[in-house]
């Protein structure tokens, strides 16, 4: 092959060995979406072939050479109706089929395992409930529904896993969610697909799908010592949240035990479900959401706590199942790393000034 330049030769080798035409299907939704995709490809091919065949055959049959005088035709209501109704019908099938898949992709099952993802220029940070952090990678197990709760710290990003056929925009100021169930172990592309500035094309990473056993091993080897809720607990203490949210009878703020998922009455009238988005808003824009019976005295924590911090706090609140837990937190100023398994804050003496005598 001495007469072929090495560059071209390399290129040919690459072409023959590494020429992808269709992405791997590695999630439960992928084959469902591909079925619709191929249905559409089929319809398009039939439509295109019909148009091309007609154009070519009319061009031959009715070229000026073969057909010197045109026959004037006004039109045909029957034909117009045909090519209005048939495409409309096909498009409706695609619409309904597409909507079914869309609702499936964006309606997570109740038992899904939740992973938080924060996008920022130009990296993805994933926060697992067990406290594992990852940057530009995401480890997930097969056979388990995984819900991602996404938010951006700055501009719009978009979390795209082509092999799973899912994608969701990460937006500043609000949570978005998407879920999937991985089926095939392997390493897949993770892209940011919403243009986000200078290093947009470097905001990429790997999605690593592991078998459940491997996933457990990975979880064990990547733990930072504290769970996400424990990090939140520590933050809760250091921000002195417990000064008001301490579940005492004379507390200035509402108790947060079991608040997650409950229906709250607001002082503005009306009620709201305390979900992730509400809890986040209540931390960052508290004056907008005053719970009935409390004075609007909570300061905003905008700028004092990062999106990851908010996530940790939300995760902590999700796990607050009794007033006892809150009061324990009140007494917590330092959580010793590695205290996992013990009652949080159990060994820490009360030293901060918020504790009332």
């Amino acid at each position: 092959m001495s007469h072929i330049s090495p560059t071209i030769w390399q290129f040919l080798v690459k072409w023959l060995t590494n020429f992808a035409l269709f992405p791997p299907e590695a999630s439960k939704i992928a084959p469902q979406m591909d079925a619709l995709f191929f249905f559409m490809v089929l319809v398009s091919l039939i439509g295109l072939t019909a148009v091309v065949l007609m154009v070519v055959s009319f061009s031959i049959l009715y070229s000026k050479k073969h057909h010197p005088v045109a026959v004037q035709i006004e039109g045909s209501t029957l034909l117009e109706a045909t090519w209005t109704i048939i495409p409309l019908g096909l498009f409706m099938v695609m619409f309904v089929w597409g909507a079914l898949i869309y609702f499936r992709v964006y309606t997570p099952p109740a038992n899904a395992m939740n992973i938080y993802v924060v996008g920022k220029q130009w990296m993805w940070k994933a926060e697992h409930p067990g406290g594992q952090h990852e940057i530009n990678s995401l480890h997930v197990p097969t056979g388990r529904a995984v819900q991602l709760t996404l938010i951006s710290e700055d501009v719009f990003h978009s979390f795209s896993i082509p092999a799973f056929r899912v994608k969701r925009e990460a937006i500043p100021g609000r949570y978005t969610t998407v879920w999937f169930e991985a089926t095939t172990p392997g390493t897949y592309h993770l892209f940011c697909t919403q243009y986000c500035g200078t290093n947009h094309s470097r905001m990429i990473g790997d999605v690593v799908v592991l078998t459940p056993e491997d996933y457990r091993k990975w979880l064990a080897s990547s733990t930072s010592g504290n769970s996400l809720a424990q990090n939140g607990e520590r933050l809760f203490a250091s921000l002195s949240c417990a000064a008001c949210h301490n579940a005492r009878p004379d507390a200035r703020g509402p108790s947060l035990a079991n608040v997650y998922g409950s229906r709250l009455a607001l002082s503005s009238g009306g009620t709201i479900i305390a979900d992730d988005a509400y809890l986040r808003e209540a931390i960052l824009n508290p004056s907008q959401h005053i719970t009935q019976g409390y004075a609007p005295i909570m300061p905003t924590y905008q700028g004092q706590v990062s999106e990851e911090g908010v996530i940790a706090l939300v995760e902590y609140m999700k796990h607050l199942d009794s007033d006892y837990r809150v009061q324990q937190t009140t007494n917590t100023t330092d959580l010793v790393p590695g205290s996992e398994g013990k009652a949080p804050g159990a060994q820490a003496p009360a030293v901060n000034g918020t504790v009332k005598p």
Binding site: A99, P162, S201
Partner: protein, 557 residues
């Protein structure tokens, strides 16, 4: 009548033929007579020169993009530079080329002539809109030269308001100004079509070119102000921080998307409808037949314009808008696909029992039909909410809108330029080389953009300066195709310029077309017609044309 079986071209005997004098080009001389003209035909030519200029700047930027993507690494330019290049490519091509392309050149030139009018209703406003366009264009170039802008042509907030440090305000203002040019053009067309039709020219005798422009003008007048508002808000956000789009201040960054796409989705119909208008005229003329289902085609233009306003949120399916909003917008998107399908089938059946010849405009029109069908069908892939999740924001969407905008609109523009070139200049373009250019364009186009569909299905995101190595082969194809496409676009510039001096003299009606614009001299008089024409027949009435000819022969004999 000529007896050649392969062509309908009927040009006068070259030995005796002369370009008729006076005509609108030679009536007055000097630069000032052009810069201060109120003549819609001269303004059309000013536009033609300026949009061609901007097209080649945008095209050069496209060339840089394709060169960068030849290799997986970002090695030709820094990622920041790449971001600026694709941003300017988008802004120039959309706001300075595609939006004004057919309406401001061919529309400007032909609408008064097709209506049998002397000029547009407001000639001075028409000239003013060209100056606005030029002001916008020069400002955009200034912004590009003094550092560029890297927001993407979509100006997504909060990236554009808080995070980039480039000429967003200058560029935004350029688009704001150019937008008014398009509002005025649209307004002028609407008034002219309502008020200046010749006696007998009823709405259903209008050429479909005029119907398409009427629909597009409605979109320009109603949609562009919303873009202007969105851009002003971005500028205010950057300068004084009003916070409408800033979540920290209680604003909503998604609001920008709503405002922006409320214009920018109808904008694609502003771009494509006039192109569809051109295709009607070309297909009818070269198959010697009335357009099949005239009323259906006319109303489908209006239907596209109306539905086109209610589909904007299909650009936001994955952005966390409510699932039920997605349902509604997906449904409406399917609705807007139907009139486009109707048009394709009507054009196809116009060929049925026609008497077809294959001059260059017809070749471009065939190219349009094929590529627009692919572009339209792939739009349905994106309109169906489920598949949109996977395909949006990838090269699939890039390929889709290039099939519609370049494969559709640019093909239509070139079809129109070749078709009316004899009317505009009085001279024929060289046929053989232009047929070659049409074929080269078609091949180059497919090679450039078809691989991008596959890249998109594989998941390659748009606006990436570097990409995983397994995508390289398809990108190499695409870049190779772009080179061929470049040749296909350069050729017409060369031979059209050549034909200005050396082209055969065309006579009034070289294609034997039925439109009123063909029933007067080429190039036309400044007043278009010697006497106001009276429309006593339907559009595309080839029998009327024959009888006119017979009369002429009789009176001459």
């Amino acid at each position: 009548m000529n007896t050649n079986n392969n062509t309908i071209v009927d040009i006068p005997d070259q030995a005796t033929a002369r370009i008729p004098q006076p005509n609108f080009m030679t009536k007055e001389n000097g630069l000032l007579s052009w810069l201060l003209t109120g003549d819609h035909k001269r303004i059309a030519i000013l536009y033609l020169i300026s949009i061609t200029f901007f097209f080649f700047i945008g095209g050069a930027l496209a060339g840089l993009i394709r060169l960068e993507l030849l290799t997986p690494q970002a090695d030709l330019m820094a990622t920041d530079t790449y971001n600026k290049v694709f941003t300017m490519h988008g802004i120039i091509m959309i706001f300075l080329f595609l939006v004004p392309s057919v309406p401001a050149t061919l529309g400007n030139f032909l609408i008064p002539m097709m209506l049998g009018a002397k000029d547009l209703a407001m000639p001075k406003i028409n000239l003013f809109s060209w100056y606005l366009y030029m002001a916008g264009g020069i400002l955009a170039l200034y912004a590009m030269i003094t550092g560029g802008v890297d927001t993407g042509w979509t100006f997504t907030t909060p990236l554009s308001t808080h995070y980039v440090n480039t000429n967003v305000i200058t560029t935004g203002f350029a688009i704001f100004v150019a937008g008014f040019s398009s509002i005025f053009t649209g307004l002028n067309f609407i008034v002219t079509i309502h008020k200046m039709r010749a006696p007998g020219m009823t709405w259903f005798r209008l050429p479909l070119f005029v119907w398409a422009h009427y629909a597009a003008s409605l979109l320009m007048v109603l949609g562009t102000p919303v873009l202007a508002i969105a851009i002003v808000l971005v500028m205010l956000e950057r300068t004084i921080g009003i916070g409408v789009f800033d979540p920290v201040k209680g604003g909503d960054p998604l609001l920008f998307q709503h405002l922006f796409w409320f214009y920018s989705h109808p904008a694609v119909y502003i771009m494509i409808l006039p192109g569809m208008g051109v295709i009607n005229e070309v297909i009818s003329t070269f198959s010697r037949k009335r357009v099949f289902g005239y009323t259906a085609v006319a109303f489908s233009s209006v239907a596209i314009a109306i539905f086109g306003f209610f589909v904007w949120a299909h650009h936001m399916f994955i952005m966390g808008i409510s699932n039920y909003a997605v349902l509604v917008f997906s449904l409406l998107t399917m609705m807007v696909a139907v009139p486009s399908a109707i048009k394709i089938f009507n054009w196809t059946f116009t060929l049925y029992k026609g008497s077809i010849t294959f001059e260059t405009p017809m070749l471009y029109a065939f190219g349009f039909m094929g590529l627009f069908t692919i572009g339209g069908m792939t739009g349905v892939f994106l309109g169906a909410s489920g598949t949109d999740i996977h395909l949006t924001e990838t090269y699939f969407i890039v390929a889709h809108f290039h099939f519609v905008m370049v494969g559709g609109m640019l093909m239509a523009f070139l079809a129109g330029i070749h078709f009316w070139w004899p009317k505009i200049t009085g001279r024929m373009y060289p046929e053989k080389i232009s047929q070659l250019a049409a074929i080269v364009t078609f091949i180059g186009f497919n090679l450039t953009f078809f691989p991008q569909f596959i890249l998109g299905v594989l998941g390659m995101p748009r606006r990436y300066a570097s990409y995983p190595p397994e995508f390289q082969v398809l990108n190499v194809f695409s870049t190779a195709g772009a080179t061929i496409l470049g040749v296909g676009y350069l050729l017409p510039v060369l031979y059209l310029l050549w034909s200005l001096k050396y082209g055969a003299i065309a006579g009034n009606n070289p294609w034997q077309a039925t439109g009123l614009e063909w029933q007067t001299q080429s190039p036309p008089l400044t007043e278009n017609f010697v006497v106001t024409p009276i429309m006593d027949h339907e559009a595309y009435d080839y029998e009327w044309l024959e009888s006119q000819k017979a009369k002429e022969v009789a009176s001459a004999g």
